[in-house]
Symmetry: C2
């Protein structure tokens, strides 16, 4: 990086761009206030922690980030992961919980910075889209279930799996407080209705204002036991250094948050950049997110990342550069300095409604339908992630999804597709006889095309295929079309040698065709090509004397 990204953006901004960023940044900031508080509560922390996490981290991302529109801050899935990391060790809203959240944010930041330094952003490629989709759906369901308590006014059960949460929610329904339920469900209906009218107006802010007004005017808090946010410390957070005692406990969760947070953020950033014909720098984004998380720890915040819904609004209201992110942070800072007394009387039910409506879009049935239509078996990792996340929790869910998708890939690559080829009548082309029944191999010749790179896990399969043909077949010549073999390792070379020996012992001569450059190099060095001839085309191999 020759200079800070924000300076480049500033230099290239016109006055109109800057004005647009100012207005749009204000809008995003106003939207961030209720969302930040809601996600703070979702993470098992005091709601104000979500506001703290919406200050310095946004400025740091704004200075270092390369996406024009990405809105960084507390988001639903990362808040859920934070809850699952700290809930087993600390009571909701306690100082212990806060300390752990701060340490977690610092760890996430350090991990992301280390990954950026090692250029290891590459690892996130192993988090496939179906796994993320299944994880998102499961998280959204868990989040919704966890918010039923605050929404209706009963004590939420502790836990972060469906097994732990469901019984408490069902039995809690009897203890729901009608007035709280009215505020919560009313807020939900308001948010849903408003969303249909406009996607850019800060509906959540109206819900905040209206629900506080209703509470104060009707004295719901004292008369009916409506739960509220309570005393919020005014002013800016004191900078802290994160504690180190919980590092070991929190490390696995921090790793999951660092990876999942980055994947969510970079996917959103890239998808918006693509639409506008821009580019984002994946490595620099990781660095910017890592720095933002460290900043979040510094201001007593929680882990943050770039999220979809606020970014969509940001793009809609005209954000043109990360300068808007700085404006949004300043908006939240002004709120923290002057408006916190107002939130004392904010009903928790209104925040719960905000969360439930926000995460509804994560329930991704469309993706399941899409996968079933395109490639049925790819739905397995999605369903496994979904089921394990719901039943065992968020980290086992991700681990199961990644392991299953890699396992299925390895399993498929270990039993590759092998096509029998025949000659297309009147041509020198050879095609799969299954797809082209008119194709027939020349008499006494068997032609196989192996559709996979050859390596230790499928080497035995290949050798067994060749041995099977040596024992069963009537062919005197066996042509192996290697056009789809991109790579061979030493185990595969041994397997080929063994297969060739078995064929030779039965009087069948093996020939190769269409061997790729790197594959030919390896086979040549192993001496394999000294006894088995290689031809440029299948036709030459099949018809040579």
């Amino acid at each position: 990086m020759a200079s800070l990204p924000i300076l480049d953006f500033y230099r290239r901004s016109s006055r109109a761009d800057l004005r647009s960023d100012l207005v749009a940044g204000l809008t995003v900031g106003v939207m961030l206030v209720p969302q930040g508080m809601a996600y703070g509560m979702l993470a098992g922390l005091s709601p104000v922690v979500g506001l703290y996490a919406s200050t310095l981290p946004l400025i740091v991302y704004g200075v270092l980030g390369t996406s024009r529109v990405l809105a960084v801050g507390p988001v639903a899935v990362v808040s859920m992961l934070t809850l699952s990391a700290i809930a087993p060790h600390a009571a909701a809203g306690s100082d212990v919980a806060l300390g752990m959240a701060v340490t977690l944010a610092a760890l996430v930041g350090v991990i992301q910075l280390v990954m950026a330094a090692l250029r290891a952003s590459f690892f996130v490629n192993f988090l496939s889209h179906p796994v993320l989709s299944g994880f998102g759906t499961a998280s959204a369901l868990l989040i919704m279930v966890s918010q039923v308590g605050p929404l209706l006014g009963f004590r939420s059960p502790r836990g972060h799996t469906l097994i732990e949460l469901a019984p408490g929610v069902v039995s809690g329904l009897n203890e729901a407080i009608p007035v709280t339920a009215a505020v919560g469900l009313g807020s939900m209906l308001f948010l849903i209705g408003f969303k249909r009218l406009s996607k850019t107006l800060p509906a959540a802010l109206f819900v905040v204002i209206l629900s506080v007004a209703a509470n104060l005017l009707l004295d719901l808090e004292r008369a009916y036991g409506l739960a509220v946010v309570g005393e919020v410390p005014g002013g800016l957070p004191m900078p802290v250094l994160p504690g180190l005692s919980d590092v070991r406990t929190l490390l696995p969760s921090a790793l999951a948050i660092a990876l999942v947070g980055y994947v969510e953020s970079i996917s959103v950033a890239q998808s918006f950049a693509r639409r506008a014909g821009h580019k984002v720098d994946a490595g620099q984004e990781l660095l910017a997110l890592g720095a933002a998380n460290l900043a979040s720890a510094f201001v007593q915040g929680m882990p943050v990342t770039g999220g979809f819904s606020r970014t969509a609004v940001a793009a809609e209201v005209g954000v043109r550069s990360p300068i808007a992110s700085v404006v949004a942070a300043l908006t939240v800072i002004v709120v923290l300095l002057f408006l916190t007394p107002f939130f004392t009387h904010l009903p928790l039910a209104a925040l719960a409604a905000t969360i439930i409506v926000a995460v509804w879009s994560l329930v991704d049935i469309k993706e399941i339908r899409h996968i079933l239509a395109v490639k049925r078996r790819d739905v397995l990792p999605l369903l496994a992630t979904l089921a394990v996340t719901l039943l065992l929790g968020v980290e086992p869910g991700i681990a199961a999804g990644v392991a299953l998708s890699l396992g299925l890939f390895l399993w498929r690559s270990a039993r590759p597709h092998v096509a029998t080829l025949g000659q297309m009548p009147g041509t020198t082309e050879y095609r799969n006889v299954v797809r082209h029944p008119e194709a027939v191999p020349p008499p006494g010749v068997a032609i196989l095309r192996v559709d996979a790179s050859l390596y230790f896990a499928n080497a035995a399969f290949l050798r067994d295929e060749l041995e099977r043909i040596a024992h069963d077949g009537s062919a005197r010549v066996m042509v192996l079309d290697l056009s789809a073999v991109n790579d061979v390792d030493v185990s595969a070379v041994s397997a080929l040698e063994e297969g060739a020996a078995a064929l030779r012992a039965r009087g069948v001569s093996l020939r190769l065709a269409r061997v790729k450059g790197p594959v030919g190099d390896v086979l040549g060095r192993a001496g394999f090509l000294a006894s088995v001839p290689a031809f440029e085309t299948v036709h030459e191999a099949a018809t040579a004397a």
Copy 2:
């Protein structure tokens, strides 16, 4: 299986075959007696346990096995794995150690039978040849180091890593007993010299006889403290049921032994069958080995498998069917019934010499040289397995080797080779411009061939390549040659869609060429082919209007 394999073999045997099997089986049995005792000692058990493991298991394998020449019984690597499993929990030669060995053999048997029932022999494909070679070399080195003590007459240090063993061996050298060392080193020299003369004569048996004779004639035991086998219970072992209390402790080791033992056995069986133009049934072999291990537990034995060195002798001396395996077992039984008093005075140093000479052939420097010559980077898993086995032990060694070889495969598949193609002058063929500098693409056309199946781990890489070309290139048409793409998953389809969108935003039109059947099916169902045309050949795609 319509009938027991041994009945088929019997039916097809001539009188000459049966006579040959009888003589050869006797020879193998005679060879097995000293080896069995040596491997019993190596496993940290009383030597007689190795003899027990050379009785019923061989009969069971003989009845169920499909290899004509495979010699089943105690082998070096599996004995080393057994030692590493039980040494941390029991003193060498104790009853506790024996109980654990019996349970271990039973567990190995059950695991192999379950794998056979699930047709899961397939999993062993993930133990690549380089990993097994590195493991064999490391095991041989560890075994040799562990036998220096008994060879020279000092107390062997406990442990099963080089770190644990080496200091004790070095300091032990001072306490070596000269007479023991003379017997040990003399036996070694005898074995090495004899091996050069003939590979089929039972050299180890001569060492046993000569060393017992020397001991008795010169009164080495009482006069110089030569360590001997000691009282060996005569007769056959009492059948036992394995204990269940150690199952949890022993399960990981049992899994390692079941896999490694099966891989060693099936490799040996297949390689000898191949040379003779026969076949072995991999699934039936797993079943036969599992049953043999259960049988070994039943007769107070230790885990067994098919090994290379005795099988080589068996083939050499004329074994023609598994009937010889039954004869060998009967030979050992006769020894157990009538000759055990003779072994009371057998020097342990002679057994140590037998072990050291036997495992020397496992040190596989040739394989390292071969891999370095054929494909340099494939040596990494071998060296990792070697190093981790020596330093941390046998199970971490195998785990590290498998993990690294799979990791390297995934890493490579995540960054596939992408070739830029050009038109070969005067033809309609397109080749990699790096290997064929005379090949040039038509003006305004970029042609890429992706040399890998496309899936979630390389989907982002592909999309980034397309986006890079969209931003950098001067091409108006981009042709993607998919001839080497054997499979696509939904993540790769999304990546192609995103890449196509990025190209379209820049006014570049994407075309596909040489799409394989299954890939075309998936792309068609996803609707991708509605906006991106696919052509039969690269030439058509590159030159279409």
